[in-house]
Amino acid sequence: MWDYSEKVQEHFFSPRNAGAVDDANAVGDVGSLSCGDALRLTLKVDPDSEVILDAGFQTFGCGSAIASSSALTEIIKGMKIDDALSVSNQDIADYLDGLPPEKMHCSVMGREALQAAVANYRGEEWKDDHEEGALICKCFAIDEVMIEETVRSNGLRTVEEVTNYTKAGGGCSACHEGIEEILTRILAEKGETFDPNAVAGEIKKPKSGLTNLQRMKRIEELLDEIRPNLQRDHGDVELVEVDGRYIYVKMIGACAGCQMAATTLGGIQQHLAEGLGEFIQVLPAEELARRAAMEA
């Protein structure tokens, strides 16, 4: 059973302002696809002062939809319509001492019914600009549509990025499989594949935050960044081995045997250390062979 607050239960069992208002001059009909709930809000607005004199609701919906409708009518009665329009769905939820995450859309439906009723009063057409999807992250009540839109508009590629942008997945982490499925689907639309080991962009991870594989991939990426500089001088660098804080590389082409090799290695070391955010030492591949021989 849902964890409904006392206030939600009270407004469900004894709803306020149930039924249509007689001689109403504003009506808002809205529904929420995600729950199949629907609500008709009727208002009686004083034309001179624009104060909401009376409000009534009729709801086809669950306990929290009925409680949210009841709360909405209580909140807005006596308000000027401009002030009423600033009532957010969070205000409705707060009035009820909170709603379970799966039920937050009931409060959204209340706010939309109000907007629709005010539009109706003013002779305007109300268009709903918001869409709801299946709830993915239960900790922060983030739905599928929200995640999809954020992933698309920001070109996100990792679960971590999704968490940074939407909070989804930042709690218990049980929804990470669901987030990965969304990423896989959206990346596939662009002809790309989802890489679970990709490192989130623009986020400096602490040293301990990288797995071995992620760390190696990061080293490769960092080498790729300086590669153009070496290639300009007809040289190149190849990653040979990563052993804890020792990173072995092989200098290729013009770089091999160059008198500046030591300086170049120093430059590579500085770039890698900064990129990884940890202290490392870059050594020539020959050093690896020498150390192995010594150990043997």
Partner: protein
């Protein structure tokens, strides 16, 4: 949610779970205390438990009408049995990449099948008609050498509608295809005699038949090729590794024995209570109807769709009066859609959301049923007074037109 005193409550949600029978509790208690041994152990502590498991296996065998007691594999739940059966069939026949199931299966099967689709398997979902019945011709045409397994529930958990699994298993056998049935709702409510059928695998769940939660069974016909889900021990003849849940296995055995004795009572008295409840509500409440196939269903289940109101709201008001039921409404599950079973039967939107399942057990009484018949009509009336589709004593004229909200 706080309801009234639970001791006074009326429990009509037995398809969700059942009360553990007092006799069953009594039978299992010693296996927490003096009979704590590991049945695999040689010494007397283990030996006694081993003997108890053997007896329980026989009791389950009898209820299922299985030919051999070694065809009974104890698992942790119905879901594990379903997963074991389907995954085993795929593993044992790697060249067969298709599965046949139905759109109204329990999520234990449906969600697994959807996952297997992502891994490249082709899943055929048999559709149902408005009464929840399958088209056997459609099924027959799908059987082929590409199909690894058919998995079809014996009885639907929401509507109670029965599928002709014995006939379907026969067709599968002729086509050389393995047949599994999820029978968690059917076992103990219907006589079952597996040795006379072509059913290869069957899942059951203890807590649906007055045994505790956390114990299930996979029936596996002797000779059916099998690949275990859990490896790592010789338990269940190497087919389900892991130290046996001895107390619960003993409990399930006792529950099966009691179910065998109560079978006639289920078929006659429980059915009579269900029919009385259903008729009582239909007579007193307008604009409601029974979903599923009333002529071919479990004797304990009644699913009524109340039009123009929503199921969760009904449940909350019933709960306040101490009556426990369940609903196919989206809101009760936190999912996007009303029950997939109601949608599959093409129940109109405004009714599917108001479907309420009342499922009885042999522990209910006619007196309780009378009280529920009294309680339901005012609850429905109260919610209809709040509904935008309703006005006075009936629905508004052309309800879907009169109230057509813009949907987000």
């Amino acid at each position: 949610m706080s309801g009234t005193d639970k001791a006074e409550g009326i429990y009509l949600d037995n398809n969700a779970t059942t009360m553990v029978a007092p006799e069953v509790v009594e039978e299992m208690l010693p296996y927490f205390t003096e009979q704590f041994g590991n049945p695999s152990s040689l010494h007397q502590f283990g030996d006694k438990v081993g003997r108890a498991l053997k007896k329980a296996r026989k009791q389950v065998q009898t209820l299922l009408g299985a030919q051999y007691d070694s065809e009974i594999i104890f698992t942790s739940c119905g879901t594990e049995s379903d997963s074991t059966a389907i995954l085993s069939a795929l593993k044992a026949q790697p060249d067969r990449k298709e599965i046949i199931t139905t759109v109204v299966e329990h999520p234990a099967v449906l969600t697994l099948c959807e996952h297997l689709e992502k891994e490249g398997y082709k899943v055929h979902y048999l559709k149902v008609d408005s009464k929840g019945r399958l088209d056997i011709q459609e099924y027959y045409k799908l059987l082929s050498d590409n199909v690894a397994i058919v998995s079809v529930m014996w009885a639907n958990n929401e509507s109670g509608t029965l599928f002709p699994v014995e006939e379907m298993a026969e067709l599968a056998r002729q086509a050389g295809v393995l047949f599994h049935t999820d029978a968690v709702q059917a076992v103990s409510k219907l006589p079952i005699n597996l040795k006379d059928t072509c059913i290869d695998m069957l899942s059951l769940s203890g807590h649906k038949l007055h045994a505790p939660k956390g114990i299930g069974v996979l029936y596996l016909r002797r000779g059916v090729r099998f690949r275990p889900l859990l490896r790592g021990g010789h338990q269940e003849r190497g087919r389900r590794a892991g130290t046996e849940n001895a107390a619960s296995i003993v409990a399930l055995g006792k529950a099966c024995e009691m179910a065998m004795e109560a079978m006639e009572y289920e078929k006659s008295s429980v059915k009579a209570m269900r029919d009385h409840l259903e008729q009582g509500i239909l007579e007193k409440v307008s604009h409601c109807f029974v979903t599923g196939d009333p002529n071919n269903r479990l004797p304990n289940t009644c699913n009524i769709a109340f039009e123009y109101i929503e199921g969760e709201a009904i449940l909350l008001l019933l709960n306040k009066m101490g009556i426990a039921a369940s609903s196919g409404s989206a809101c009760t599950s936190g999912s996007l859609e009303p029950s997939h079973v109601m949608r599959a039967m093409d129940i109109p939107f405004t009714a599917a959301h108001g479907s309420v399942r009342l499922s009885l057990s042999r522990y209910n009484t006619m007196d309780e049923i009378e009280r529920v018949i009294e309680a339901v009509p005012p609850i429905v009336a109260q919610l209809r007074q709040l509904s935008p589709y309703w006005s006075g004593d009936g629905p508004v004229e052309e309800p879907e037109k009169a109230f057509a909200p813009s949907y987000a």
